[in-house]
């Protein structure tokens, strides 16, 4: 790391002596810029997908119900049977029958208050807390039919579960994109610096002819590419981050879906993007320079 920092300070003579490397240096900067911007997008997508999946998962945890509708003399037995069945079903964390007061509160918007619920043949509700995966709906329905014919499984999570799957998938894909971006950046910087070094083979042999050490030659190239990558990636990441800042937020309601913009300390992760780009560039260039110095022959 100290070597990395020393490098950024540079060697005054080497800098003037090695040619400006023109297009390849620009190419590195631009690559770093574009890749950093894309990395920030992918990172933000990963974070957002992760947040979505987390939030929806926790919402799922208490979402489904079983209604038991049976003749008054049967209903208590069936509720007990259904509870027993539910509690031994894999994918269900807990099951609990609502008492009359709770059920009344639940129905109030629909049928108003003041109804003699206990006198009416109103179905009884069992609230279930499921695991994230949830139970096998078809198997559960079959089992309930056998043990409590009046019980009906109502999977409120049905439409949310695929959303979690989708969020997970989005997280997976944006994670893969992130890995691709990192790998591609490393490969591109390697190739760009190799191209620069190969194009400068004569410069290298000439410098050797007049007694320049490896460190001197490699340093000049490495520094240039690392700086380009750092600056390019810094601008790219900042640009993309700014774009996220200025997209208006979803507002309070958005709490449910969560915004696309990074939140809290996720912003810190974005700041890591240019740093990682610079370190990647440093390692890639240093290796390319070492290779070039070993390959390019004396003349």
């Amino acid at each position: 790391m100290s070597r990395f920092l020393r490098l950024l300070r540079g060697h005054p003579a080497a800098e003037q002596i090695v040619p400006r490397a023109g297009f390849t240096a620009w190419l590195t900067g631009l690559t770093a810029f574009a890749m950093a911007a894309l990395a920030v997008c992918a990172l933000a997508a990963t974070f957002a997908a992760g947040r979505l999946a987390d939030r929806w998962s926790s919402e799922l945890a208490r979402s489904s119900t079983v209604q038991v509708l049976a003749p008054a003399e049967e209903v208590d037995r069936q509720v007990t049977a259904a509870l027993a069945a539910l509690r031994t079903t894999p994918g269900i964390v807990s099951a609990r029958a609502l008492d009359m007061a709770e059920q009344e509160a639940l129905l109030a918007p629909w049928i108003g208050t003041g109804l003699p619920l206990d006198a009416l043949p109103v179905p009884r509700l069992i609230v279930i807390e499921e695991t994230v995966e949830g139970p096998d709906a078809a198997a559960l329905a079959l089992r309930l039919t056998a043990e409590a014919p009046g019980a009906q499984y109502d999977d409120h999570t049905r439409w949310r579960r695929p959303m979690i799957a989708a969020a997970d998938r989005l997280r997976l894909i944006s994670g893969a994109a992130l890995a691709l971006i990192l790998f591609a950046t490393a490969a591109m910087v390697t190739l760009a610096s190799r191209a620069a070094l190969a194009a400068n083979a004569r410069v290298i042999t000439t410098l050797r002819l007049v007694g320049a050490e490896d460190r001197f030659i490699a340093g000049a190239f490495t520094r240039r590419f690392t700086l380009r990558a750092l600056i390019g990636a810094g601008l790219g990441a900042a640009g993309a981050a700014l774009a996220f800042l200025f997209v208006p937020d979803v507002g309070a309601e958005g709490a449910f879906v969560t915004g696309l913009a990074p939140q809290g300390q996720e912003w810190l992760a974005l700041a890591g993007v240019p740093l990682i780009a610079a370190i990647t560039a440093y390692i890639a260039t240093a290796r390319a320079a070492k290779r070039a110095l070993n390959t390019i022959e004396e003349a």
Binding site: T206, V210, G211
Partner: protein, 225 residues
């Protein structure tokens, strides 16, 4: 300073030099002749460690050449002024900066050196082209610039490959006078050339030995020169 003892060299299968024995000592002056393709440049490259012998011994400044790392070689090069046959320059730096290059890579370029540089440029007749880029030089100007760079660090050994190939007679004499002068100051000089007239003109001034490369062997040329 440079000791060949039974040194051999071959590019792959092609043996270029076999069983060389020679000692280059401070203050010595050697000419190296031989037909085109005889191996003169190859011999010089062995001297400045651009090539490593494929057999036999070669010691440079007391160290076995085969044992040296690249950075050792870089440091030894600072005591050897090399004028390459192809006159390698950095095309993006001015002629002046190119000539000062050996000092710059050592971070040793100072004010006093700058006067030396101006004098040197004047001597080889390049003062008016100091700011030009190497590709803008004529063939002969490039050779003179290469020689100037070789002597800039006042090295212990000066190695020049065909230093007068593109120079007219007067300019060639001027350049040789510089080398003779440096030799009198105790530097070893080693020049590869195919131009016997050049050799003859120097023989009167210093005690130069003329070596001839023939079928990979080094011979001392007779008094026919």
């Amino acid at each position: 300073m440079i000791e060949f003892s039974g040194t051999r060299f071959s590019y792959g299968q092609d043996t270029i030099l076999s069983d060389l024995n020679l000692s280059i000592t401070p203050g010595s002056f050697h000419f190296l002749t031989g037909p085109s393709g005889a191996g003169k440049t190859t011999f010089l490259k062995l001297c400045y460690m651009a090539l490593t012998p494929t057999g036999g011994g070669l010691t440079v400044f007391g160290k076995e050449a085969a044992m040296l790392t690249r950075d050792d070689i870089a440091r030894f090069r600072r005591k050897i002024g090399v004028m390459h046959q192809n006159c390698q320059f950095l095309d993006h730096l001015s002629v002046e900066d190119n000539i000062a290059l050996p000092l710059r890579v050592q971070d040793k370029f100072t004010e006093s050196r700058a006067t030396d540089l101006a004098d040197l440029m004047d001597w080889v007749g390049l003062s008016h082209r100091a700011a030009a880029l190497p590709p803008e030089l004529s063939g002969g100007e490039r050779q003179r610039a290469a020689l100037a760079r070789a002597v800039m660090i006042s090295p212990d050994v000066i190695i020049a490959d065909e230093p007068t190939g593109n120079l007219d007679w007067d300019m060639a004499q001027r350049v040789l006078t510089l080398l003779v002068e440096l030799n009198r100051m105790g530097k070893a000089v080693l020049i590869a050339t195919h131009d016997l007239n050049i050799i003859r003109s120097v023989k009167g001034q210093v005690n130069a030995r003329v070596l001839r490369l023939k079928s990979g062997q080094l011979q001392l040329a007779g008094s026919d020169l």
